[in-house]
Amino acid sequence: MGLPSVFISYNPNSDIEQTLAVRLHTIGAVHGFNMLLPDRRGFGSVVSSETRSRILEADFFILFSTSSLSSTVLNEIQIASSKLHEKSKILVIYDITVGKNLAGADNFTEVYINRSSSIEEILNTILTKVKGIQSNGNDQGGFFSVLGPILLTGLGLFALASVLDEPRRPKRRLPKKKNAPAKKAKKAVKKVKANATNSRYR
Protein backbone atom coordinates (compact mmCIF):
# COMPACT_ATOMS: atom_id res chain seq x y z
CA MET A 1 0.00 0.00 0.00
CA GLY A 2 1.37 3.41 -0.96
CA LEU A 3 1.73 6.38 1.34
CA PRO A 4 -1.40 8.47 1.84
CA SER A 5 -2.48 11.60 0.00
CA VAL A 6 -2.29 14.80 1.98
CA PHE A 7 -3.95 18.08 1.03
CA ILE A 8 -2.42 21.27 2.44
CA SER A 9 -4.55 24.37 2.59
CA TYR A 10 -3.32 27.88 3.20
CA ASN A 11 -4.67 31.42 3.13
CA PRO A 12 -4.11 32.89 -0.34
CA ASN A 13 -3.16 36.28 1.09
CA SER A 14 -0.54 34.92 3.46
CA ASP A 15 2.92 34.69 1.90
CA ILE A 16 4.30 32.90 4.92
CA GLU A 17 1.58 30.23 4.89
CA GLN A 18 2.04 29.80 1.14
CA THR A 19 5.79 29.33 1.50
CA LEU A 20 5.26 26.86 4.32
CA ALA A 21 2.60 24.92 2.41
CA VAL A 22 4.85 24.74 -0.65
CA ARG A 23 7.78 23.56 1.48
CA LEU A 24 5.69 20.97 3.25
CA HIS A 25 4.37 19.83 -0.12
CA THR A 26 7.93 19.36 -1.37
CA ILE A 27 9.17 17.64 1.79
CA GLY A 28 6.26 15.21 1.63
CA ALA A 29 6.67 14.61 -2.11
CA VAL A 30 10.40 13.96 -1.72
CA HIS A 31 9.52 11.32 0.90
CA GLY A 32 6.99 9.63 -1.35
CA PHE A 33 3.70 11.10 -0.08
CA ASN A 34 1.11 12.22 -2.60
CA MET A 35 1.06 15.85 -1.52
CA LEU A 36 -1.68 18.07 -2.91
CA LEU A 37 -2.00 21.83 -2.96
CA PRO A 38 -4.95 24.01 -3.95
CA ASP A 39 -4.99 25.53 -7.41
CA ARG A 40 -4.96 29.22 -6.56
CA ARG A 41 -4.39 30.56 -10.06
CA GLY A 42 -7.00 33.16 -10.93
CA PHE A 43 -9.96 31.73 -9.05
CA GLY A 44 -10.27 34.51 -6.48
CA SER A 45 -12.37 33.31 -3.57
CA VAL A 46 -13.91 30.44 -5.53
CA VAL A 47 -12.69 26.88 -4.98
CA SER A 48 -11.85 25.53 -8.43
CA SER A 49 -13.14 22.16 -9.57
CA GLU A 50 -9.51 20.97 -9.68
CA THR A 51 -8.98 21.95 -6.04
CA ARG A 52 -12.26 20.28 -5.05
CA SER A 53 -11.25 17.00 -6.70
CA ARG A 54 -7.82 17.16 -5.04
CA ILE A 55 -9.43 17.61 -1.59
CA LEU A 56 -11.79 14.71 -2.23
CA GLU A 57 -8.83 12.60 -3.34
CA ALA A 58 -6.89 13.29 -0.12
CA ASP A 59 -6.72 10.97 2.89
CA PHE A 60 -5.65 13.78 5.20
CA PHE A 61 -6.15 17.52 5.33
CA ILE A 62 -3.75 20.00 6.92
CA LEU A 63 -4.64 23.65 7.34
CA PHE A 64 -2.37 26.43 8.47
CA SER A 65 -4.73 28.80 10.14
CA THR A 66 -2.32 31.34 11.54
CA SER A 67 -3.97 34.44 10.09
CA SER A 68 -7.51 35.58 9.43
CA LEU A 69 -9.22 32.92 7.35
CA SER A 70 -10.23 33.65 3.81
CA SER A 71 -13.51 32.43 2.37
CA THR A 72 -11.53 30.13 0.04
CA VAL A 73 -9.97 28.31 2.97
CA LEU A 74 -13.33 28.05 4.74
CA ASN A 75 -14.83 26.49 1.62
CA GLU A 76 -11.91 24.09 1.35
CA ILE A 77 -12.24 22.88 4.93
CA GLN A 78 -15.99 22.44 4.44
CA ILE A 79 -15.32 20.18 1.47
CA ALA A 80 -12.71 18.26 3.47
CA SER A 81 -14.97 17.80 6.50
CA SER A 82 -17.76 16.48 4.26
CA LYS A 83 -15.45 13.65 3.27
CA LEU A 84 -13.10 13.11 6.20
CA HIS A 85 -15.14 12.39 9.31
CA GLU A 86 -12.38 11.18 11.60
CA LYS A 87 -10.89 13.74 13.96
CA SER A 88 -7.35 12.60 13.26
CA LYS A 89 -7.68 13.16 9.54
CA ILE A 90 -8.04 16.92 9.67
CA LEU A 91 -5.29 18.83 11.39
CA VAL A 92 -5.53 22.56 11.96
CA ILE A 93 -2.47 24.47 13.09
CA TYR A 94 -3.25 27.72 14.88
CA ASP A 95 -1.02 30.52 16.01
CA ILE A 96 -1.56 30.87 19.76
CA THR A 97 -1.34 34.66 19.52
CA VAL A 98 -4.15 34.71 16.94
CA GLY A 99 -6.15 31.98 18.65
CA LYS A 100 -8.73 29.62 17.26
CA ASN A 101 -9.93 31.58 14.27
CA LEU A 102 -12.00 28.77 12.84
CA ALA A 103 -15.57 28.50 14.11
CA GLY A 104 -17.28 25.11 14.32
CA ALA A 105 -13.99 23.27 14.10
CA ASP A 106 -14.43 21.12 17.19
CA ASN A 107 -14.10 17.88 15.29
CA PHE A 108 -10.62 18.58 14.07
CA THR A 109 -7.26 17.93 15.64
CA GLU A 110 -5.91 21.24 16.86
CA VAL A 111 -2.33 22.26 17.35
CA TYR A 112 -1.36 25.63 18.78
CA ILE A 113 2.01 27.09 18.16
CA ASN A 114 3.62 30.33 19.16
CA ARG A 115 5.56 31.79 16.30
CA SER A 116 7.60 33.95 18.61
CA SER A 117 8.92 30.88 20.43
CA SER A 118 12.11 29.17 19.49
CA ILE A 119 12.02 26.40 16.89
CA GLU A 120 12.74 23.83 19.61
CA GLU A 121 9.82 25.03 21.74
CA ILE A 122 7.44 24.87 18.79
CA LEU A 123 8.63 21.39 17.92
CA ASN A 124 8.19 20.28 21.52
CA THR A 125 4.62 21.59 21.57
CA ILE A 126 3.75 19.69 18.44
CA LEU A 127 5.58 16.56 19.49
CA THR A 128 3.76 16.46 22.82
CA LYS A 129 0.44 16.85 21.02
CA VAL A 130 1.25 14.20 18.47
CA LYS A 131 2.48 11.76 21.16
CA GLY A 132 -0.71 12.41 23.14
CA ILE A 133 -2.88 11.51 20.18
CA GLN A 134 -0.83 8.39 19.48
CA SER A 135 -0.95 7.17 23.10
CA ASN A 136 -4.72 7.75 23.31
CA GLY A 137 -5.12 5.40 20.37
CA ASN A 138 -6.76 8.04 18.23
CA ASP A 139 -4.22 7.71 15.50
CA GLN A 140 -6.58 6.05 13.06
CA GLY A 141 -4.91 5.07 9.85
CA GLY A 142 -1.52 5.75 11.38
CA PHE A 143 -1.63 9.37 10.30
CA PHE A 144 0.71 10.79 12.89
CA SER A 145 3.05 7.84 12.94
CA VAL A 146 3.55 8.20 9.19
CA LEU A 147 3.13 11.90 8.69
CA GLY A 148 4.33 13.07 12.09
CA PRO A 149 8.03 13.34 11.30
CA ILE A 150 7.31 15.18 8.07
CA LEU A 151 4.89 17.49 9.79
CA LEU A 152 7.49 18.26 12.39
CA THR A 153 10.02 19.09 9.73
CA GLY A 154 7.49 21.35 8.12
CA LEU A 155 6.76 23.10 11.36
CA GLY A 156 10.43 23.57 11.98
CA LEU A 157 10.53 25.27 8.64
CA PHE A 158 7.50 27.29 9.62
CA ALA A 159 9.36 28.72 12.53
CA LEU A 160 12.30 29.31 10.27
CA ALA A 161 10.07 30.99 7.71
CA SER A 162 8.74 33.35 10.35
CA VAL A 163 12.29 34.28 11.21
CA LEU A 164 13.15 34.78 7.54
CA ASP A 165 10.00 36.75 7.06
CA GLU A 166 10.90 39.45 9.56
CA PRO A 167 13.27 41.53 7.41
CA ARG A 168 11.06 41.05 4.36
CA ARG A 169 8.10 42.88 5.80
CA PRO A 170 7.26 45.93 3.69
CA LYS A 171 8.50 49.18 5.07
CA ARG A 172 5.90 51.44 6.54
CA ARG A 173 5.01 54.33 4.31
CA LEU A 174 5.76 57.72 5.67
CA PRO A 175 2.77 59.79 6.68
CA LYS A 176 1.40 62.00 3.90
CA LYS A 177 2.26 65.16 5.79
CA LYS A 178 5.95 64.33 5.62
CA ASN A 179 5.72 63.57 1.90
CA ALA A 180 3.95 66.78 1.07
CA PRO A 181 6.96 69.13 1.35
CA ALA A 182 9.00 66.78 -0.82
CA LYS A 183 6.41 66.97 -3.58
CA LYS A 184 6.29 70.72 -3.24
CA ALA A 185 10.05 70.84 -3.41
CA LYS A 186 10.01 68.79 -6.61
CA LYS A 187 7.45 71.15 -8.11
CA ALA A 188 9.57 74.09 -7.12
CA VAL A 189 12.62 72.55 -8.78
CA LYS A 190 10.59 71.95 -11.92
CA LYS A 191 9.41 75.55 -11.90
CA VAL A 192 12.94 76.86 -11.51
CA LYS A 193 14.14 74.63 -14.36
CA ALA A 194 11.26 75.74 -16.58
CA ASN A 195 11.97 79.38 -15.84
CA ALA A 196 15.65 78.88 -16.58
CA THR A 197 14.87 77.20 -19.93
CA ASN A 198 12.39 79.92 -20.87
CA SER A 199 14.87 82.64 -20.01
CA ARG A 200 17.45 81.04 -22.33
CA TYR A 201 15.09 81.28 -25.31
CA ARG A 202 14.00 84.82 -24.59
Partner: protein, 196 residues
Protein backbone atom coordinates in the same frame (compact mmCIF):
# COMPACT_ATOMS: atom_id res chain seq x y z
CA UNK B 1 6.43 7.50 -5.38
CA UNK B 2 9.45 9.60 -4.49
CA UNK B 3 10.45 12.62 -6.58
CA UNK B 4 13.32 11.70 -8.87
CA UNK B 5 15.05 13.29 -11.85
CA UNK B 6 17.40 12.20 -14.60
CA UNK B 7 20.08 14.77 -15.33
CA UNK B 8 21.85 15.73 -18.55
CA UNK B 9 25.51 16.71 -18.76
CA UNK B 10 25.03 20.47 -19.40
CA UNK B 11 22.80 20.89 -16.35
CA UNK B 12 25.12 18.80 -14.18
CA UNK B 13 28.03 20.99 -15.30
CA UNK B 14 26.03 24.18 -14.58
CA UNK B 15 25.07 22.96 -11.12
CA UNK B 16 28.67 22.01 -10.41
CA UNK B 17 29.74 25.55 -11.29
CA UNK B 18 27.16 26.80 -8.79
CA UNK B 19 28.48 24.46 -6.09
CA UNK B 20 29.87 27.34 -4.03
CA UNK B 21 26.29 28.62 -3.66
CA UNK B 22 25.48 25.32 -1.86
CA UNK B 23 23.17 24.37 -4.72
CA UNK B 24 23.85 20.64 -4.28
CA UNK B 25 22.62 20.76 -0.67
CA UNK B 26 19.45 22.48 -1.83
CA UNK B 27 18.80 19.82 -4.48
CA UNK B 28 18.15 17.33 -1.71
CA UNK B 29 15.19 19.44 -0.66
CA UNK B 30 13.63 19.16 -4.11
CA UNK B 31 14.37 15.59 -5.19
CA UNK B 32 14.83 12.27 -3.45
CA UNK B 33 17.23 10.95 -6.10
CA UNK B 34 19.13 12.21 -9.13
CA UNK B 35 20.00 9.68 -11.80
CA UNK B 36 23.08 10.15 -13.93
CA UNK B 37 23.12 8.03 -17.10
CA UNK B 38 26.36 6.26 -18.09
CA UNK B 39 26.95 8.41 -21.17
CA UNK B 40 26.35 11.61 -19.19
CA UNK B 41 28.88 10.41 -16.63
CA UNK B 42 31.45 9.84 -19.38
CA UNK B 43 30.84 13.33 -20.82
CA UNK B 44 31.06 14.83 -17.33
CA UNK B 45 34.33 13.09 -16.55
CA UNK B 46 36.07 14.50 -19.65
CA UNK B 47 36.77 17.95 -18.18
CA UNK B 48 37.58 16.72 -14.69
CA UNK B 49 41.18 17.99 -14.81
CA UNK B 50 40.03 21.52 -15.70
CA UNK B 51 37.25 21.54 -13.16
CA UNK B 52 38.17 19.71 -9.94
CA UNK B 53 34.73 20.36 -8.41
CA UNK B 54 33.40 17.58 -10.63
CA UNK B 55 35.20 15.09 -8.40
CA UNK B 56 32.79 16.03 -5.62
CA UNK B 57 29.81 14.64 -7.56
CA UNK B 58 31.68 11.64 -8.96
CA UNK B 59 32.82 10.61 -5.49
CA UNK B 60 29.20 10.50 -4.37
CA UNK B 61 27.93 8.44 -7.29
CA UNK B 62 26.63 5.02 -6.32
CA UNK B 63 25.54 2.38 -8.82
CA UNK B 64 21.71 2.51 -8.98
CA UNK B 65 21.36 3.82 -5.42
CA UNK B 66 21.94 6.85 -3.22
CA UNK B 67 21.06 10.46 -3.96
CA UNK B 68 23.44 10.61 -6.93
CA UNK B 69 22.70 7.36 -8.68
CA UNK B 70 24.88 6.12 -11.55
CA UNK B 71 21.99 4.56 -13.36
CA UNK B 72 22.43 1.89 -16.01
CA UNK B 73 18.80 0.94 -16.50
CA UNK B 74 17.46 1.79 -19.94
CA UNK B 75 14.55 0.97 -22.12
CA UNK B 76 16.72 -0.27 -25.01
CA UNK B 77 13.97 -0.03 -27.60
CA UNK B 78 13.18 3.55 -26.55
CA UNK B 79 16.92 4.31 -26.59
CA UNK B 80 17.34 3.17 -30.18
CA UNK B 81 14.28 5.18 -31.26
CA UNK B 82 15.29 8.34 -29.40
CA UNK B 83 18.86 8.20 -30.70
CA UNK B 84 17.43 8.64 -34.18
CA UNK B 85 15.68 11.92 -33.32
CA UNK B 86 17.41 15.01 -34.71
CA UNK B 87 18.70 17.38 -32.02
CA UNK B 88 19.25 14.71 -29.38
CA UNK B 89 22.77 13.50 -28.56
CA UNK B 90 23.71 10.15 -27.04
CA UNK B 91 23.73 11.31 -23.41
CA UNK B 92 20.34 12.98 -23.80
CA UNK B 93 18.92 9.88 -25.50
CA UNK B 94 20.08 7.78 -22.55
CA UNK B 95 18.51 10.28 -20.16
CA UNK B 96 15.14 9.93 -21.89
CA UNK B 97 15.35 6.12 -22.11
CA UNK B 98 16.22 6.03 -18.42
CA UNK B 99 13.45 8.50 -17.53
CA UNK B 100 10.98 6.09 -19.06
CA UNK B 101 12.37 2.95 -17.48
CA UNK B 102 12.57 4.20 -13.92
CA UNK B 103 9.38 6.33 -14.16
CA UNK B 104 11.23 9.46 -13.15
CA UNK B 105 9.38 12.74 -12.71
CA UNK B 106 11.71 15.10 -14.54
CA UNK B 107 14.59 15.39 -16.96
CA UNK B 108 17.00 18.13 -15.98
CA UNK B 109 18.46 19.66 -19.15
CA UNK B 110 19.58 23.09 -20.32
CA UNK B 111 19.83 22.12 -23.96
CA UNK B 112 17.16 24.09 -25.83
CA UNK B 113 17.42 21.94 -28.98
CA UNK B 114 17.00 18.78 -26.95
CA UNK B 115 13.98 20.15 -25.13
CA UNK B 116 12.32 21.15 -28.39
CA UNK B 117 13.10 17.81 -30.02
CA UNK B 118 11.95 15.65 -27.12
CA UNK B 119 8.75 17.59 -26.51
CA UNK B 120 7.80 17.19 -30.16
CA UNK B 121 8.37 13.44 -29.65
CA UNK B 122 6.48 13.24 -26.33
CA UNK B 123 4.83 16.37 -24.93
CA UNK B 124 4.22 14.72 -21.54
CA UNK B 125 7.91 14.65 -20.65
CA UNK B 126 8.74 17.27 -18.03
CA UNK B 127 12.03 19.01 -18.74
CA UNK B 128 13.43 21.38 -16.13
CA UNK B 129 16.35 23.73 -16.68
CA UNK B 130 18.78 25.09 -14.09
CA UNK B 131 16.62 28.23 -14.09
CA UNK B 132 13.63 26.11 -13.11
CA UNK B 133 15.63 24.66 -10.23
CA UNK B 134 16.56 28.16 -9.04
CA UNK B 135 12.92 29.29 -9.33
CA UNK B 136 11.73 26.21 -7.41
CA UNK B 137 14.23 26.90 -4.65
CA UNK B 138 13.29 30.57 -4.57
CA UNK B 139 9.56 29.90 -4.20
CA UNK B 140 10.30 27.65 -1.24
CA UNK B 141 12.79 30.15 0.21
CA UNK B 142 15.43 27.44 0.35
CA UNK B 143 17.96 29.90 -1.02
CA UNK B 144 18.45 33.46 0.11
CA UNK B 145 21.05 34.53 -2.45
CA UNK B 146 19.01 34.08 -5.64
CA UNK B 147 20.48 37.20 -7.24
CA UNK B 148 24.03 35.93 -6.81
CA UNK B 149 23.12 32.46 -8.08
CA UNK B 150 21.49 33.92 -11.19
CA UNK B 151 24.44 36.22 -11.81
CA UNK B 152 26.85 33.29 -11.56
CA UNK B 153 24.66 31.15 -13.81
CA UNK B 154 24.42 33.93 -16.39
CA UNK B 155 28.20 34.17 -16.54
CA UNK B 156 28.58 30.43 -17.24
CA UNK B 157 25.42 29.73 -19.21
CA UNK B 158 23.88 32.98 -20.54
CA UNK B 159 20.10 33.22 -20.54
CA UNK B 160 17.59 35.95 -21.28
CA UNK B 161 14.91 37.53 -19.16
CA UNK B 162 12.20 35.62 -21.04
CA UNK B 163 13.71 32.23 -20.11
CA UNK B 164 13.91 33.27 -16.48
CA UNK B 165 10.31 34.43 -16.54
CA UNK B 166 9.20 31.18 -18.15
CA UNK B 167 11.00 29.20 -15.45
CA UNK B 168 9.25 31.16 -12.69
CA UNK B 169 5.84 30.88 -14.37
CA UNK B 170 6.25 27.12 -14.93
CA UNK B 171 7.30 26.58 -11.32
CA UNK B 172 4.38 28.66 -9.99
CA UNK B 173 1.94 26.82 -12.26
CA UNK B 174 3.19 23.46 -11.07
CA UNK B 175 2.51 24.48 -7.48
CA UNK B 176 -0.79 26.12 -8.40
CA UNK B 177 0.27 29.36 -6.78
CA UNK B 178 -0.70 32.76 -8.04
CA UNK B 179 2.17 35.16 -8.61
CA UNK B 180 1.37 38.79 -9.31
CA UNK B 181 2.90 40.52 -12.32
CA UNK B 182 4.67 42.90 -9.95
CA UNK B 183 6.36 40.07 -8.04
CA UNK B 184 7.23 38.29 -11.27
CA UNK B 185 8.74 41.46 -12.72
CA UNK B 186 10.82 41.95 -9.60
CA UNK B 187 12.05 38.35 -9.64
CA UNK B 188 13.00 38.46 -13.32
CA UNK B 189 14.41 41.97 -13.53
CA UNK B 190 17.80 41.87 -15.27
CA UNK B 191 18.28 45.46 -14.17
CA UNK B 192 18.10 44.33 -10.54
CA UNK B 193 20.78 41.71 -11.15
CA UNK B 194 22.92 44.19 -13.03
CA UNK B 195 22.63 42.05 -16.18
CA UNK B 196 21.99 43.06 -19.76
Amino acid sequence: MQLTAVIDNVTLVNLTKLKHHHIFNSLRSLFSQIHIPQEVRKEYEVQISKEPDRVWVLERLRPNQGFYSACDRYDTIALSIIKGIKGIDRGEAEAVAQYRTINSHYILSDDVKFKKAILSFDSRIKVLTTLHIVAMLDFRQYVVNVDEILKSLHSIHPFNSKSLRTAYIDSANELGISVSKKVLNAKCSFKKFGLK
